[in-house]
């Protein structure tokens, strides 16, 4: 069931990406999609009653392969989160530049202004 909930979150993000006309809302949709995918990946590595993949003592070292959750999706999601931050920074920079040039965040108005300028 949890997989379906993450899928629903993902679908909300995709729907927002396809229907919203405001650049900030588009950025927000991308953030939602990103969160959903990260959650799905970490969920796929969970073990029932699992412990964090951190060895705290010599005794826990022998049991870690039976107890621990999967560290591999976690490492990949760690990379993904930081990449998401830098992508977000780039998107905000582009959005600010667009606002600086056209004075609006609305895609339709921006398109109208570009068309106006061409004629």
């Amino acid at each position: 069931m949890l997989y379906y909930l993450t899928c629903l979150l993902f679908l909300i993000g995709v729907f927002g990406l396809l229907t919203q006309r405001n650049i900030v809302k588009l950025i927000i949709s991308v953030l939602i999609i990103e969160n959903a995918v990260n959650l799905f990946l970490v969920l796929s590595g969970y073990r029932e009653g699992g412990a964090a993949p951190i060895i705290t003592s010599v005794t826990s070292q022998s049991r870690i392969s039976v107890v621990s959750v999967d560290p591999f999706p976690q490492a990949m999601v760690m990379t993904s989160i930081v990449i998401g931050l830098s992508v977000l920074a780039l998107m905000t920079a582009i959005a600010l530049r667009i606002y600086h040039i056209y004075g609006t965040y609305n895609i339709d108005e921006i398109a109208a202004k570009i068309r106006e300028k061409k004629e």
Binding site: N38, P71, M78, A93, I101
Partner: protein, 188 residues
């Protein structure tokens, strides 16, 4: 127990996401998407990923600062009306296609609570868990995977951050380089 708690958190995240997309004020939308991120952080904590919880909460704070930087000082009310019916229908069709793909791919996954590595023979994760401490010396296996077994990924990731900084510098410097032909400067 964990499963129902996680379901509760995910439902909260879904509600927050819907609020973020369909509220009229940009600032409330930004704060609602912050709620999605923070509920993700709590979910990571329950899922046995404290590294991710720390990372997510810190990154979420910085992203909120970035997003508020975009919305503040700009007219907060949205001017756009509702989307056209044709676009909504197309989006619904796309969603159905994505959901069908999800259902197909879900068949290859085990039920929740069984990690993928237990179903696949010779999965790399088993090797990482069993010999991680011995081969990398790092007691935190996530760090061991990230910076020793799979350091190539981290190198690529460093490149991505560097590119983002470069892009930000180029997009946001006060005066553009002199360029011939039509420039964007006279459009404002």
């Amino acid at each position: 127990m964990t499963e129902s708690l996680l379901a509760l958190i995910l439902v909260f995240a879904i509600i927050a996401a819907s609020v973020a997309l369909y509220t009229d004020e940009l600032l409330s939308a930004v704060i609602a998407v912050g709620a999605v991120g923070f509920s993700g952080s709590i979910a990571y904590l329950l899922l046995g990923a404290p590294d991710l919880a720390i990372t997510q909460i810190v990154v979420e704070v910085v992203s909120l600062v970035l997003l508020i930087r975009v919305t503040i000082g700009v007219g907060l009310r949205l001017t756009s009306g509702p989307s056209s019916r044709k676009r909504i229908t197309a989006a619904g069709a796309a969603l159905l296609a994505v959901f069908a793909l999800f259902l197909i791919s879900l068949k290859t996954f085990a039920a929740f609570g069984t990690p993928v590595m237990e179903r696949i023979q010779g999965a790399p994760s088993v090797f990482y868990i069993e010999r991680g401490l011995e081969l990398t010396g790092a007691a935190n296996l996530v760090t061991g995977v990230l910076l020793d077994f799979r350091a190539y990924d981290t190198l690529g990731e460093a490149t991505v951050i560097f590119t983002a900084v470069l892009g930000g510098l180029i997009l946001l410097r006060r005066k553009g380089r002199k360029n011939t032909g039509d420039s964007a400067e006279d459009a404002g």
